[in-house]
């Protein structure tokens, strides 16, 4: 087995090489660059709307690109499309499987998707001819639960799964275009870059990976977390990635410097991060935790500048609308709240 030994040695050498290369580019820190910036004043957001209607834990929510409609998924077996301004339910879609873990709104507003323990990603057409919302496609091939899904367009969607892979699907044919394999643990969350060329995934192997969608390869891997990464998102300019983990911290990784820039942590925060969303300028990071709260961080100064306390159970999902006007939180208490 000499060959295996050699390969293992080469793997270790390459890992050391990457660590060393990152160090040589570490001529400064984000703390130093932001030293002259004043911390954001206390951020106090108020609940403006409460969306009531789900009968069980809410597991996921996603804003539509119009900043008014959003979709939520609950283990009561329903996908609900809400008008967040009137709080009316635009659609209440009954699901075949109630064990839903994720949902997504297509940028066009025409489709929504969801999936979970059924290992499938189901696509629903909201704009059907007869007005009824029907299943358009069932994307089945994953051998593990569907943890997250995000549309690239009405014809393509990316999914992450408990089978450790992410997949790019052709919705029209219902087939896998690309399988992104590499994570050594369940892929828990994914985010698409603002230019739709890349996506990032966070997994139970404690790493985040950056994938080139068209080249079908993993470009970079980021470590540092001490537990599962549950939430991931792009910084608004697409040059950095934010992760949230069961280790109760969030981290900011810069893609071009290929390394971690900051960790957002506080000794008083002991509960894992379930969800996260940056504000429109990227200055604020909103992170939902198992302890029923959302912590608001000044992303440049790594200081906690606010808390959203309003849910009676775990905050499972969070999203900031496209125009940045509001943040929506979804909870195991079955309610969604709109804050600004």
């Amino acid at each position: 087995m000499g060959e295996m030994e050699e390969l293992r040695k080469e793997m270790e050498n390459l890992k050391d090489q990457i660590t060393a290369a990152r160090k040589t580019f570490q001529d400064s820190t984000l703390q130093e660059a932001a030293a002259g910036v004043t911390v954001v004043g206390r951020v106090q957001l108020k609940t403006r709307k409460t969306l009531r209607g789900h009968l069980a834990k809410i597991y996921a929510m996603h804003w539509g690109t119009d900043s008014t409609l959003c979709v939520s998924a609950s283990q009561d077996g329903k996908l609900i499309v809400w008008d967040t301004i009137t709080t009316n339910k635009v659609n209440a879609i009954p699901l075949k499987s109630s064990w839903v873990m994720t949902c997504a709104y297509a940028p066009s507003g025409n489709l929504v998707a969801c999936g979970g323990l059924d290992n499938m990603c189901s696509i629903y057409n909201l704009k059907g001819k007869d007005g009824n919302v029907k299943v358009m496609r069932e994307l089945a091939a994953h051998t593990g639960y569907l943890s997250c899904c995000r549309f690239l367009s009405d014809t393509e969607i990316i999914t992450s799964s408990g089978d450790c892979t992410c997949v790019l699907w052709d919705i029209e044919t219902g087939t896998q275009k690309t399988v992104f394999a590499g994570h050594q643990g369940d892929a828990m969350s994914l985010g698409v870059s603002p230019d739709f060329k890349f996506f990032i995934s966070g997994a139970c192997d404690f790493t985040a990976k950056l994938w080139d969608i068209r080249e079908a390869e993993c470009r970079q891997t980021f470590g540092g977390h001490e537990s599962d990464i549950n939430a991931i998102g792009f910084f608004p300019n697409g040059n950095a990635v934010i992760t949230g983990s069961d280790d109760a911290t969030c981290k900011l990784y810069d893609l071009r410097a290929d390394q971690e820039l900051l960790t957002y942590q506080d000794s008083s925060i002991m509960c894992g991060v379930t969800s996260l969303a940056p504000s429109k300028s990227g200055r604020l990071l909103l992170a939902g935790h198992d302890d029923f709260n959302v912590n608001i961080w000044d992303m440049l100064k790594a200081e906690r500048v606010g808390v959203l306390a309003g849910h009676d159970n775990r905050v499972s999902c969070i999203g900031v609308s496209t125009d940045g006007m509001a943040c929506c939180t979804g909870s195991w208490d079955s309610f969604l709240k709109i804050w600004n």
């Binding site: 390969l7 300019n237 290929d258 200055r283 006007m325």
Partner: protein, 109 residues
């Protein structure tokens, strides 16, 4: 397939892992000082466009119902007694403060 395929498949996996690490090692990097400066600049330049950061005045907030305000009382110059219609007295004078909470202004760095 026979037992021989078992060690081969772990070899295949190891080769893939080495290939992937080589790719990741070869990525072109920029200095942290430059990356951090650009992140900071992006935040500061877009701060004014970030409603959660700057705060949203009630009149511009789509999630708050618009407040109805009556026109203010104009001063009476003529000393003759004129009957005043109390419906035109501004709400803020006969109500104990607004029912809606005022929005806190946020400072940005």
């Amino acid at each position: 397939m026979s037992n021989i395929s078992a060690p081969n498949s772990s070899l295949v996996l190891a080769l893939k892992a080495v290939k992937q690490l080589r790719l990741e090692a070869s990525v072109r990097r920029i200095k942290v000082s430059q990356a951090a400066a650009e992140l900071k600049t992006f935040c500061l330049q877009n701060a004014h466009k970030d409603p959660l950061l700057t705060g949203v005045p009630s009149s511009d907030n789509p999630f708050r119902p618009p407040q109805v305000m009556h026109p203010p009382l104009t001063p009476v110059k003529n000393k003759r007694l004129i009957s005043v219609d109390f419906c035109h007295v501004p709400r803020c004078l006969w109500r104990k403060g607004s029912q809606e909470q005022t929005h806190t202004k946020h400072k940005s760095g």
